[in-house]
Amino acid sequence: MKVMNIIEAVNDALHLEMERNDKVVVFGEDVGGFGGVFRATKGLTDRFGEPRCFNTPIVEQGIIGFAMGLAMNGFKPCPEIQFADYIFPAYDQIVNEVAKSRFRSGNSFTAGMVIRTPYGGGIHGGCYHSQSPEAQFLHTPGIKVVIPSDPYEAKGLLLASLRTDDPILFLEPKRIYRASKCEVPLDDYEIPLGQAQVAREGKDLTLIGWGAQHHQNLEAAKKAEAMGIDVEVLNLRTLNPLDIDTIIASIKKTGKCVVSQEAPKTMGFAAEISALIMEKAFLHLEAPVFRCCGFDTPFANAHEHEYMPDSPRVIKAIKDTYDY
């Protein structure tokens, strides 16, 4: 066990897996010797050589296409996109190519890879260093989406992802890259994909979140307790496949639900969760599922504090839903 932050945990997982599996190749903008702008790949080139950890030209569509070719030919690429906001030039390669490759080739050419990218607001990043694009990938069959919320999860989920034969979008909450710290085993371990964590048990209301937002949710749940509301907090960890059983079991217990996400409300993943809960637990619902989200605007730098659905806003959502 060692206290690590998320960056260190990611770095540790990459070292471990590159050692174990010589098919893992890491690359991206500034990812080589320098170790990436957040330094998540630091030391990999020194340890494993430039052929296995290297800088690419600045061309996200090329990075992902290149990764797909490596994957088809037996390697396990782990490309980094420098910021999630810059994943969109690669959107075609991801949703049309990587995601569909296994299916459309009749299981002949698979594209298992882990695309790592820092996401989310709160670092004075304005319109283009703040976005949370998970929803834009969840409509596309064929790609799994994983989001850790702390260093322990970052390492365990990254190792599990690197051992899954599917394309995985691995979104890292950059706002808490260094702020989130906890004990992390130095050994190998996996956190299975598709299983949500019941981070806090409660009987009055279910609060669902993922990534950095999960910490706002935990804080809100603690404050809600003082107001006499016993909140169950779910930390999804994997958005696709979704752990529907854990969600529905919780709703059946509490009858009330708030889903909280940083991304804009409209067509965010909270919408899907809300719709699923209605479909599968309608008769248990005592109030409408409440979506506490970012606003339907681009991310304004000067107002990033106001933009974020932070714990005070989550608390209000909890209260309003509880009192419905």
């Binding site: 290149f66 296994r102 002949s108 599917d166």
Partner: protein, 363 residues
Amino acid sequence: MKFEIETISYLNEDGEIRDGYQKTISDDLLLQAYKIMLQTKRIDERMVTLQRQSIVTFAMPSRGEEASTVVSAAALKPQDWHFYQYREQGAIFMKGFTIQEYCDHMLLNVDDTAKGRQMSNHFGKKELNAVTVSSTLATQIPQAAGCAYAQKLRGEDAVTMCYFAEGAASEGDFHAGLNMAAVTKAPVIFYCRNNHYAISTPSKDQFAGDGIAPRGIGYGMKTYRIDAMDAFAIYDTVQEAREYCAAGNGPVLIEAMAYRIGPHSTADDPSAYRTDDEVAKWEKLCPIERVKKYLIKNNLWSEEQDLEFYNALIEEIEESIAIAKAKPKPGIDSMFNEVYSDIPWNLQEQYDFLKEFTKEESH
């Protein structure tokens, strides 16, 4: 600030070779490639007819580019990988895709290597290292660079052949793929079929420079331009390029000049955008005829052998079509499996629903 990229050409329309040219392709391989060219032409014709009869839904004939696809593939080795755009049925035939496999694919039956999931004309086969076609243009270009980098990492004697055409070369992925291959020194041959049209769009609306080849120089890449109606120019250049790549020198770009004599696809009517005269001019340059003339002139083949071969070919094709027609289409399970490495709950739910629903409806 000017430079010329010459067009390599050895064999003319009359089957005669340029003075002093020494053929490198073996007689056997040349004859085999010739047969595959004929096969490609014949199958293309049949698929167009079958589309009119609604037996296949879509086809993309490669008339005019049979040498370009078949002979370029003939210059490669079995362990080499192919990435296609779509008009390279000739290349996958040369690589070993059988007539039956092709017909099963075109008719999207249960034995289609792509399990009926894609449109016709989207061939591919894992065992051949022949990557399944995807409709999205140019996406295979950076993929080919990555695939070649895998070959380099393994230190194999293998290269990646990446086919695409001059229209697709306008996509951002072209730039991405060529530059990444150049920087990583990946052993990939970028083989650009410049056939002068992208559906209705003539080259003058596609680019303003001197074709695609000069772009290779911009990436610091070894570059050739060839007459792709000329089997010998194709063979020699691809062979040389293969050696260069396999020796660790990095990628090569070849611009293969030909012409799309047929329609873009069975959904296209080229008379709306070009004249018959223009097409006729190119018909006369037929790349298959050139080889035939050469073979006969050099006593490697005869008209009688040609006729005999062609009749047997027709028979085999018709038989394969008949067999393909008789096979059922894939079951509905093939809609839901292989989306992922496993079947998540939502797909299981949807599959169960569809099974039940189909049962109900059929009552």
